[in-house]
Amino acid sequence: MQRILVSIKRVIDYNVRVRVRPDGAGVVTDGVKMSINPFDEIALEEALRIRERGAAQEVVVLSIGTDDAQQQLRNALAMGADRAILIKTDQALEPAAIARAMLAIIEREQPFLVILGKQAIDDDCNQTGQMLAALWDRPQATFASKLELEGGKARVTREVDAGLEVIEVELPAVCTTDLRLNEPRYIKLPDIMKAKKKPLDVVALASLGLEIAPVLTTLKYEPPPQRRKGVMVKDAAELVAALRQKGLV
């Protein structure tokens, strides 16, 4: 079966103003809205469109985390994924560990395409897809803004610093999404009902037989330095005069 695997991370919603906890041990999560990482929503949307075009038969979503991530997986099923897998762990894992856990599922599921977000908006690492591609020994097409499949290959347009780059990779391959790849669909109410009946497998991380221990230690979190509030100027002339005085124009 032609299968696409999409990773789904549960993160603090992008609209939340994240605050550091007073003890510096993390950020405030109590009562904070959690969502699918926005880049992963884009990844899922792309997989669904490929399936709807007939170029894939099944879209499987995968999350690694606590039981709470089932909510995001249910939302992914409501968006249209066929089934979901939760690798359950209470440990916060680094990208390298996530990549290894994903690889274990890839070996089972044999997808021809794995789509991840380019970056999780909590840790902002931008690592997991590239690490997965290396461990799997397959091509990577990162920061994708266009993805075309043709005869065992993917032609991917990538958002790079210089502009847009096009590369061609043999399948199976790893792709990570950028913002312009697509606009994810909204979930409709009946889909939420339907999603309840779709399969969601919970697998204990320990059952994968990986030795995963944290390598990096976060010692503390601090709020960023604040910029001093500036002044309001009354018109263009005053603005230009102020900038001129500072030697900026």
Partner: protein
């Protein structure tokens, strides 16, 4: 001694300005011995430029036609091979470095720190998380290789005046053939580069159309500035993707940043926090951009831009 290898980014025979900033980051590590690796088809000019950065001990030049245009899957096994004997492997936090370095880290079985903004010791670094809403201090294990990308906006370029030797290296690694470069479309212009410009003028959704975005270009030209854009302006097609400033675009640190018709979402602000002076022009006096602006001007951009030009 801490032996640090920096992977050079370059294009059309020119060394990327981010490399000298990576050198500054590496030099902040105690007892640093800094090498730069240049992977190129014909890299003599790039290697010479790298050797001229102060503080660099050696430049390792690996020439192979397969190395240009750069593909992460092709470079990564070579970098991993060359990294032997190094304690740290650094790359710039540009799309080149972001694509390449995690692949290298996985091949080395090493952890990676992304967007290093400050060095506290050879194993302790600071980096932004949650779109810059928090700064994490992270400790890496001693005695183990560490891969990192350097948040270039946080470091000044290392000075010129270095005289490092260039050593040609031949690597015996199998290169994959599963990835092929097809093309790159870059809008070439005489305008300053967004990532290194001293002045940047950015436009947001308020511009309303690609045609109107020309107002931003005109003002930028008058100021000798680079052009930037918010995500909304890029999504709407007013500006190309490479001009997006922010958490998931470019992080910049110009002397002057002028935000026009940009509301100041956290994802945008994280890209401009290190700008020396921020100017905001917005018709909504409550827009969050004014909380970070050194100079705020409330009003309609369509009348204010021409007035600013008149006063210049």
């Amino acid at each position: 001694m801490n032996r640090i290898l920096i992977i050079a980014e370059h294009l059309d025979g020119k060394l990327n300005a981010a490399v000298a900033k990576c050198v500054s980051c590496a030099a902040a590590i105690p007892d640093a011995d800094i090498g730069i690796a240049v992977f190129a088809a014909d890299g003599a000019a790039v290697a010479a430029a790298a050797a001229a950065i102060a503080g660099v001990s050696r430049v390792l030049l690996v020439q192979n036609p397969a190395n240009e245009p750069a593909l992460a899957a092709v470079l990564a096994p070579q970098v991993a091979e060359l990294a032997a004997g190094h304690s740290h492997v650094f790359g710039p936090s540009t799309t080149f470095g972001k694509d390449l370095m995690p692949r290298v880290a996985a091949l080395l079985g090493a952890p990676q720190l992304s967007d290093v903004m400050a060095v506290e010791s050879a194993t302790r670094f600071r980096r932004p998380v949650y779109a810059g809403n928090a700064i994490a201090t992270v400790e890496a294990p001693a005695g183990r290789q560490l891969v990192a990308t350097v948040r270039v906006a946080s470091f000044q370029a290392a000075a010129a005046g270095g005289t490092a030797a260039v050593e040609k290296q031949t690597l015996n690694v199998a290169l994959p053939s599963h990835t092929r470069f097809v093309s790159v479309s870059a809008a070439r212009s005489d305008r300053p580069d967004l990532q290194t410009a001293a002045r940047v003028v950015s436009g947001g959704r308020a511009l309303g159309s690609k045609e109107n975005f020309a107002l931003i270009q005109r003002l930028a030209d008058r100021l000798g500035a680079a052009i930037g854009a918010s995500r909304a302006a890029v999504d709407a097609g007013y500006a190309p993707n490479e001009l997006q400033v922010g958490q998931t675009g470019k992080i910049i640190a110009p002397e002057l940043y002028v935000a026009i018709g940009i509301s100041g979402a956290i994802q945008h602000l994280t890209g401009i926090k290190d700008a020396r002076t921020i100017v905001a022009i917005n018709k909504d006096a409550e827009a969050p951009i004014f909380e970070v602006a050194d100079y705020g001007l409330v009003g309609d951009l369509f009348s204010l831009i021409p007035e600013i030009e008149k006063n210049l």
